[in-house]
Assembly symmetry: C2
Homo-oligomer: 443 residues x 2
């Protein structure tokens, strides 16, 4: 049963359903990989091997009793350690929350359990999902950052420890680690996945997302988790979307991609710029054209920072007041800046979200998706920073769906993601476009 840990979640669920192997086999293979890799990668904040196997055993019993199986039956999933679990600690990457044991599962954990998933353990987050790194190293080279803040989730999937992991993004916390770790990362449209039971930085910006090793798996977990939650005030009701079917479909028309270099293109590493030039050549001008970013988007970075820092200052006020000494300088400074922000600037920054998103909407009248760097470079050397979120901020601010696919590699052997960004609400189509792109390049 060697190598089960490298199966996709789709394959793994199918294999368990068909009786080719058991959930215990699969979880055992993942745990063996963790035993081998964790000393270098440090992806896990909490992992109870016996408890993981007990969940898998229960999944196998459930199947043997002839019960109907959920779409993730027996599939292990890693959960970022800012997402509440009723049976494991949730310590938010800060000593201030050491030993914290939530009473309830976050909505996403609840839905994963209902789909049959094994909640394998909690993955490392940066400090309260902000900039200060956790202990995780990049699986491709432990001297490099894995990116953050969903560091452990991205690294665990990249290292073959688990086929799926859940993370969150308030700035670049999904797309950046996906790029640096060479996995697929998907941050759906804001309001698609419930934030209930997840550490809040900003109720206007926080967006859960998923890591996997292919697009089909992103669709699989999206279909499980994109469920309306009336208790999340940021969600709107919507009909269920058949993500799996749509992502696998042949696009009815050959997709067209709008290459948006952004005003920050000069900061992109030469090798990444070359990678994009090659992509443009391979796809040709029928499939890819440059598209200028509307000038109104330039200020979005400032507005994003206003919302995020005011949010952090507000939501982490208790922690600051009782334990600023246990915070990193960067978090302390964020909070202190956030405390100075005026309510009128906060409200103006919030009001502009919709304006910018509408200004960007024109792109999608002509193009299936925006194509743009996920990060300006591959994972930087060193573990004191998780790298820059520069190429994620605008899309996060707008709440647009974004995917990082591992299509590039720099000469030092490190992966770099290509980011696809879709129209708000058009998540399934974005997955389909990403699937098409992977086939077009790799096929």
């Amino acid at each position: 049963m060697q190598g089960l840990n490298w199966l996709s979640a789709t394959q793994a669920a199918q294999g368990i359903r068909d009786g080719l192997f058991s959930a215990v086999d699969l979880v055992g293979a993942c745990l063996a990989q963790i035993d081998a890799q964790e000393p270098q990668v440090h992806a896990w904040a909490y992992l109870d091997r016996e408890y993981a196997l007990a969940q898998a055993k229960k999944a196998d019993e459930w199947r043997s009793q002839g019960n109907p199986l959920g779409p993730l039956h027996g599939v292990p999933v890693g959960i970022k350690d800012i997402i509440d679990t009723r049976d494991m600690p949730t310590e938010d990457g800060t000593p201030l929350h050491a030993g914290r044991r939530p009473w309830y599962d976050a909505k996403v954990v609840d839905l994963l359990r209902a789909a049959g998933a094994v909640i394998l353990g909690k993955t490392v987050t940066t400090e309260m999902a902000t900039y200060h790194p956790g202990k995780t190293c990049n699986p491709h080279n432990p001297a490099h950052t894995p990116g953050g803040s969903s560091s452990g989730s991205a690294a665990a999937v990249a290292a073959g420890m688990v086929p799926l992991a859940v993370g969150t993004q308030t700035n670049g916390s999904m797309i950046r680690p996906a790029s640096f770790c060479g996995v697929h990362g998907f941050k759906p449209t804001r309001g698609t996945v419930s934030c209930r039971g997840i550490l809040v930085q900003s109720e206007l910006l926080d967006q859960p997302g998923f890591f996997a090793r292919d697009v089909q798996d992103l669709a699989l977990i999206a279909e499980v988790l994109a469920v309306y939650d009336a208790d999340d005030e940021g969600m709107r009701p919507h009909a269920p979307v058949p993500f799996v079917r749509i992502a696998a479909e042949e696009p009815p028309m050959p997709p067209k991609l709008a290459l948006i270099k952004t005003p920050w293109w000069d900061e992109v590493d030469a090798e990444v710029q070359e990678g994009f030039a090659e992509l443009a050549q391979v796809l040709g001008s029928e499939q890819l054209n440059e598209f200028p970013l509307p000038s109104s988007a330039n200020q979005a970075l400032t507005w994003h920072q206003t919302l995020m820092e005011a949010g952090i200052a507000s939501h982490f006020a208790d922690e600051y007041d009782r334990g600023a000494a246990h915070m990193s300088d960067s978090l302390r400074q964020q909070i202190e800046r956030g405390r100075q922000i005026k309510a009128v600037d906060y409200l103006a920054s919030a009001a502009r979200m919709l304006q910018i998103t509408e200004a960007l909407d024109d792109v999608f009248d002509q193009y299936d998706a925006i194509i743009t760097p996920a990060t300006a470079s591959s994972a930087p050397l060193g573990l004191t920073s998780t790298g820059s979120p520069l190429f994620c901020t605008l899309w996060t601010y707008c709440g647009m769906p974004a995917i990082s696919v591992p299509l590039l590699r720099t000469s030092n052997g490190m992966p770099v993601g290509v980011q696809l960004v879709g129209r708000v609400g058009d998540d399934a189509r974005l997955l389909r476009t990403a699937n098409w792109l992977m086939s077009a390049i790799n096929g």
Copy 2:
């Protein structure tokens, strides 16, 4: 056809449906009353008699063609002049918006038209629905304020100019003028009625409401307007509520009222205090008990002010920047205070809404409704102030449904409202309780 203008909306709609009189008869009677009363009352910001009659004529034709009739078919309704109408100016009570002609109807106007109502005209608001008075006088004595900010809507209903009018409340703008003008005023649970197309002061506090001359009419218009609007982010989907049926029902158990005197009871006029003592005597201790306000509620006034002033500063920023000289001192000062508010204080004030509402929720385990003054006195003499919203602020902040019923009168002949406040979302039950109270006292 004299006196048609004094019919309730329920009676008027029934009379038109049954062919006892026409919409033109009804609107004509209302216009005659306006001709007689408007020179003293000044309830209307805009009224085009010909256009009102043209709408009524169309309603009569519609009926004569055998079409199905809406619940307000042919019934004239007054609309506060901060609520957009595509066929009438909407000037928001400020010279800065003089001549403003919206392109679209507010959602409430749209729904009223769909229910067959005649949009009679636009009623006077205070300056941008804040404190500085408009031109309206109290119909019971023109030397007294009608209350604000929905001054014209309350006065028009009180003066028999129209059976129904729409207003809004961000602090005390429905309940206070209802109390001062001696009409029934109902502000439903926040998020029950769409705010789309209504001047925004604070997206967290603004709440549309209705004036009528009896409870049944409040239920009638609530049933028309309590419709989910996916484009109002403050609304949650809900099943339609049969307000009319529930409001008219005999309560299955004799209702119990919790008299909450509030920490501000000392400010209540002696005559109003006596009125409440009489009410307590008439109803007896089986039906009415004093209930202490949880201490946590005391700070709500400050939190409400933080949200409202930051909201006003944000939403009226353009007006301030280009025309502060055309603003009243009080509005200018509100904006200037609002500009100084910190985002963290704004967010903390917003976060506490739910906490306070939950703390107050215990009342409703034992009681059908809270009973408390609508205002500390009857309408004060003079037209330079619209009076104090003190007894409205807490319930508005919590988004709880509130009704003012005209049960008291001071020795100068001016009416005073008794306020009933219900559990969030229990609006129909609150109407039923109000109906029961009116019968218990008047019957």
